[in-house]
Amino acid sequence: MPDNGASQAKPAPSTTNGAAAETKRQRVRMLISALGMLPVLLILCIGFHFLSEGRFFTGQNLGIVLQQAAVNTVLAAGMTFVILTGGIDLSVGSILAASAMAGLTLSKLPELGMLWLPVSVLTGLGFGIVNGALIALLRLPPFIVTLGSLTAVRGLARLLGADTTVFNPSIPYAFIGNGSLTLIPGVASIPWLSVIALLVIFVSWLVLRRTVLGVHIYAVGGNESAARLAGIKVWAVLIFVYGISGLFAGLGGAMQAARLYAANGLQLGQSYELDAITAVILGGTSFVGGIGSIWGTLIGALIIAVLSNGLILIGVSDIWQYVIKGLVIIGAVALDRYRLQGSART
């Protein structure tokens, strides 16, 4: 058998030792690229700390930052799923508003009040699945479908409250909006909103990196027609990711409702989709699909929250906040590109 002999005669492509070392090096490299924006985040934090005369790194302020990042983190996690498949979901802000409205309206009914939280989340899931079905089954472009539902669901959100603010100061589970989980009594505590956000990130990571479905999501994003030919049910994957995005938007709506005790169909969640997308892209996920990680998204969301918090903390005027935010976003990506130039990514 000459062919077998052949493959033996040749030096094995890589010894087990070499392979292990290589894998390790690759892991480190992946970690670096996943945590790509971490240096930017740290620089921002330290900068704000000094400029605000030491007000940034206080327990209270960090709690506020975490809490402010929470809703956007949850939306961005859903958005990460969608963008990994090469799609986009513009409707998360509207879905968030509609879910919050549905939840709050229900919470005012005495018997069913306790159900408001699951109802909120399921409302979001429902809208997400409709988006997904239109995209996956009718093969419509995600941008148009979710732009359509951005508009239509916003209308529904307004209808739900008859265009007024729905308010319920005694909403059940209000603690998730404003309470904190005590880690060490009297010393360290973490807002429930942040706990939820971190859980969402963790679950997303599990799904994306530890399940078959996760690989399928990356595959659909990397090469949809190859995925189809490889036997992956592309339509199911697409419905799943838009469903998840809707679900997380619904959860975000519940979080906002618990935080504000109120919701307004017109105002709530306006242009949240831009913040969520920004977090995802800052986190290194590619618009083309197939490349990216959920940890990057978390860091992206934190950067946005730190930026908003820090600029107010150091007393920058509203106008200049715009200018600086815009420049920092561009600068962060430019820095990242520059940093990666030496490494394996092109």
Partner: protein
């Protein structure tokens, strides 16, 4: 207690009304303490964003928060949180539940006088359009005031009140173009603010429609110019507010509370005055010198 730093959260900083408000607040605060630190932010009508801003003010350790509440009731919990941190909260332009004090234009009354002008001019008979705007409480109040007056006059028919002119010239122009095509006969249009009124006038001029009475609320600089402009005779009145003074009053009240002086009433309503083409010459406007 000295006023060292103050946080201001207003609707939308691109609106001249809120700019005048913030100038008034700055003026009064600087008068109290020349070294005061003022942070002014716009919440773009997003309640969540406003709550976030209040959190940030708490973290920054301000003494006084001046806010134009995103929702009169729903902002309550956030206000409580600020108060718990020892911060005095004063609401401007819109009342807020639980605030230490509120200083606002009487928007219902503003809507009333603006629409009363229409009723008077029409002699109690005619077809009127209420050109609505974003559903925030000030706008809702104005429309309520307007409807109060119009409904007392059976001869007046309200053709429509469910279109959103977005509070801007462009929105007013677009909505009015639709109205003018849809209704061959319109006698008067009440626009919920000045930019919409001007946009409405532009639409009417484009279509060569004359004889429509356009009134609004605000008394902003651009309506001042329009009321003086012979080319826009259809813009006839605007129920003026005085944001500069309103903010000054709010800061005064707030400083008072900081120093232990409770105001007589938690809500201070500033009456609105109707500016018309006849009395425009006497109108001081938002940008006139306010150092008195």
């Amino acid at each position: 207690k000295e006023l060292k730093s103050i946080g201001v959260s207003l609707g939308s900083m691109g609106n001249p009304f809120f700019v005048a408000l913030s100038k008034g607040a700055e003026f009064e605060a600087k008068k109290t303490n020349p070294n005061v630190k003022i942070t002014t932010v716009g919440f773009e009508y997003d309640l969540g964003k406003q709550v976030t801003q209040i959190d940030n003010f708490i973290a920054a350790g301000v003494d006084l928060i001046l806010l134009n509440p995103g929702d009169p009731k729903a902002i309550g919990p956030a206000i409580k949180k600020a108060q718990a941190a020892g911060i005095v909260v004063v609401a401007v332009d819109t009342a807020a539940e639980g605030a230490d004090a509120t200083v606002t234009t009487n928007n219902v009354q503003a809507g009333e006088i603006s629409c009363q002008y229409i009723v008077d001019k029409l002699g109690g008979k005619g077809d009127v359009v209420i050109e609505n705007g974003p559903q925030v409480s000030a706008v809702i109040d104005r429309v309520v005031g307007c409807k109060n007056v119009l409904s007392k006059n059976p001869g007046i028919k309200v053709l429509s009140s469910d279109q959103d002119g977005k509070g801007s010239r462009e929105g007013g122009l677009t909505v009015a173009q639709g109205y003018l095509t849809r209704f061959p006969k319109i006698d008067a249009i009440f626009a919920i603010n000045d930019p919409q009124a001007i946009g409405t006038d532009l639409a009417a001029r484009q279509q060569n429609r004359t004889g429509i009475i356009i009134t609004a609320v605000d008394g902003a600089p651009d309506i001042e110019a329009a009321l003086k402009d012979p080319q826009s005779p259809q813009i006839q009145a605007s129920a003026s507010q005085d944001p500069f003074f309103m903010a000054r009053r709010a800061v005064q009240v707030g400083v008072g509370i900081l120093n232990g002086q409770k105001p007589a009433s938690t809500v201070e309503l500033l009456p609105s005055k109707l500016v018309t083409r006849d009395n425009i010459a006497e109108y001081k406007g938002w940008t006139s010198d306010r150092s008195q």
